[in-house]
Symmetry: C2
């Protein structure tokens, strides 16, 4: 090991180490300089004293510019007031690569400019924190399902059938056939649930929607569990257990990053089971009492979702939507067949829907009827119908869009900052 990562320095108190990284910022005070070095694992305050270093080192510290590559040697000292709890008392300071005219300065830049420089913007403190949290969320998702004995089933991205209309699908030529980029792995998970019981997929999904809101991306990651013999109440239990787990894990392991984002952690600490559950019919009542012009059969808009969620400081699960506004595969409620055993989980603080899920129809003939009612091509769904033909079983699953969950956890408004290289309307660079 020729150098130590900044995040590991607290294990090297009073030792001489080499740190490699980039100049983040620099304060100066006469014969002392305080360069802050970042290396991706943390931020380190260095102390360069003119009388303790060579002339070359002093000159290098003087010349170093924002984002120059640095090799710094020094002794690690405990310093509770410094970020990371340590400081480096420098004995040798080298600029390995001098950066000139770095395009992103500490002054304010417009978002379009920053997005055009996304490959560099990633180095900024907030973007760094968001991406560290995203990474934690994704690992937490995988650990949750792994620890609960789910099998990961990577569903295909290239799919043959246009299941629900082609208007929002990206299309490609597949050796003379048409293929479409997947919008969900669910249909592929259901046969796999018959093979493996508890399965999940987690991959990129695509939506070619001419939409420019802060809540849409053309390419986003979605995690989808599917469980054999799980019925609707159990599905809601699974969803709340899952969300509690990932939020508390970030609170526990990504404190520094939440702090960098000035996130109110008490709001996240509150995300503990049980979550409130209301039905769609109850939701319509609540909204009507608030004076909203909605009635049974209407889809809920973003404003409605916010109005519903503001009564709670935890995510709320809204269940049993009218079958007419939900996907063809949702199991009707046996006690109220006008509605389906589907639910959306709405995050607090106006972040809107983060999860959508349902129990699936497991009766072959009912599913066939729905496919016909929705004018879907029966042939393309033959293999999906097979799941109901050969050893049918009740089963349920949900999907969570990662960027929406990350935006909520980070307290960030725009989804575009919650994915390393966002793909937006007309924007596919770099």
């Amino acid at each position: 090991m020729d150098h130590v990562r900044i995040g590991e320095l607290s294990k090297h108190i009073d030792q001489t180490v080499t740190v490699k990284g980039w100049l983040y910022n620099k304060r100066e005070s006469g014969k002392l300089k305080f360069p802050i070095v970042r290396d991706g694992s943390g931020y380190l305050q260095c102390v360069v004293s003119k009388k303790e270093v060579s002339e070359e080192s002093w000159q290098a510290a003087t010349d170093s510019t924002q984002e120059s590559t640095l090799h710094v040697v020094g002794v690690v000292r405990e310093e509770p007031r410094a970020p990371g709890g340590v400081e480096l008392h420098v004995s040798d300071f080298k600029v390995a690569h001098l950066t000139q005219d770095y395009p992103i300065t500490p002054k304010e830049h417009g978002t379009a400019y920053l997005m055009q420089h996304r490959h560099l913007w990633l180095r900024s403190k907030n973007q760094h924190a968001i991406l560290r949290i995203r990474s934690e969320v994704e690992q937490a998702c995988r650990d949750f399902f792994y620890n609960n004995d789910f099998t990961l089933i990577d569903s295909p991205i290239l799919t043959p059938a246009a299941c629900e209309g082609t208007s929002t699908l990206f299309e490609t030529d597949y050796f003379g056939d048409k293929a479409y980029l997947s919008q969900s792995g669910q249909l592929y998970l259901e046969p796999a649930a018959a093979a493996l019981g508890k399965v999940y997929c987690f991959g990129p999904t695509f939506r070619a929607e001419k939409s420019k809101t802060r809540r849409h991306l053309m390419e986003f990651w979605m995690i989808e569990p599917e469980v054999a013999f799980l019925e609707f109440d159990g599905l809601q239990n699974l969803a709340e257990e899952f969300v509690e787990y990932i939020v508390q894990r970030v609170v526990e392991r990504r404190k520094e990053e939440l702090k960098a984002l000035e996130r109110d952690i008490t709001k996240l600490e509150r995300i503990q089971r049980p979550f409130p559950r209301i039905t769609y019919r109850e939701a319509i009542d609540v909204l009507q009492k608030k004076g909203k012009d909605v009635k049974f059969g209407d889809d809920l808009g973003a404003d409605d979702e916010t109005a519903l969620a503001e009564a709670f400081d935890k995510p709320v699960m809204v269940s049993r939507y009218p079958t007419s506004i939900k996907a063809f595969y949702m199991q009707p409620d046996p006690n109220d067949p006008e509605v389906a055993l589907g639910m959306d989980m709405l995050a607090p603080e106006g972040y809107g829907e983060i999860i959508g899920g349902s129990q699936r129809i497991h009766d072959h003939d009912l599913l066939l009827q729905r496919i016909k009612e929705h004018d879907l091509p029966i042939e393309a769904f033959q293999w999906y119908l097979d799941v109901r033909k050969y050893g049918s079983f009740p089963h349920s699953g949900f999907g969570m869009g990662i960027e929406r969950a990350v935006a909520w956890i980070c307290g960030v408004t725009h989804l575009r900052e919650c994915i390393p290289y966002p793909r937006m309307l007309y924007k596919i660079y770099p």
Copy 2:
């Protein structure tokens, strides 16, 4: 919990439980029946004794067919000879859904037929075992990098530039622009390494290659780490540490599945560091001594790789290939500029290349020169060049194709069985 998963039954010895699953197979012997039930978590031998169950249960056990959905109640008994170490002494046996004419019978079917029924074939014992191992490998990959403080950076699938020729790229329309499905996340990881130090991506990659060999898929998953300030020797250390970890983890946690596949586990137990390392120049010598018609500058074919690997019972790392046959971004060897600091790791037993990696050029002008020499569009690489312009740093990374690693670990010949829904030439169903 209304039922217990088969994999959990050993925690319920002498308790009465309900199991839900599918009939895998059935033996009968007079007034005893031994249905084997599978539920994705394991296989359970049930004992149904005519004198201990109701007439309905006996009839249900008699009528049950392969892949019928079952609800079985009984007492869990220890039975070391049974799969999973337990047996269920049945008190109640119900067929929840009777399967008729299941298309995949225990007799032999051709591969084309099985692939056409991939959504059902997943339920077969070997396919189940392979997918459980795949899932373990993928989690092991993620755990390895998470535990080593890497940040997951999901690189984009939709990319604007055709970096290395468009002939093997899937193309799609992106709101009037052309976009291509990614073949590697590497270029996007390099700027992220400047932001986060140690990063990796792990997602689907695409190759529209008119190739029909057992070692090609159009859509496959690849894991790619990229590390700031890591040079070539360190890269080889990382690759061997990584491969040892995932193989030993499967050996440790997926014994049942390896046994189901009749995999020789001793061959996997041997996969311990250090792995042998030879240079390309040495490899050419070895091959020439074996009478092969190869010379410096030739790419190594699959036969050459097998011939090289057969001398070792561990993966072998072949390094320092001629720059002329390697990618434009590879750092030349300072001691031998005709060759690049790149390496391929070849699996034993003829499984061929599983990893390819390199140190990347970090000098701006040299990289620019290479981009020109390769006739690549400079404009499309401007952001990639920026990594060398602003705080450049030596860095290295590799990529491992998951299906190839899984095929080797499972001892399976064809990649198509190592992914849930393979995408092959002209084959995109289901």
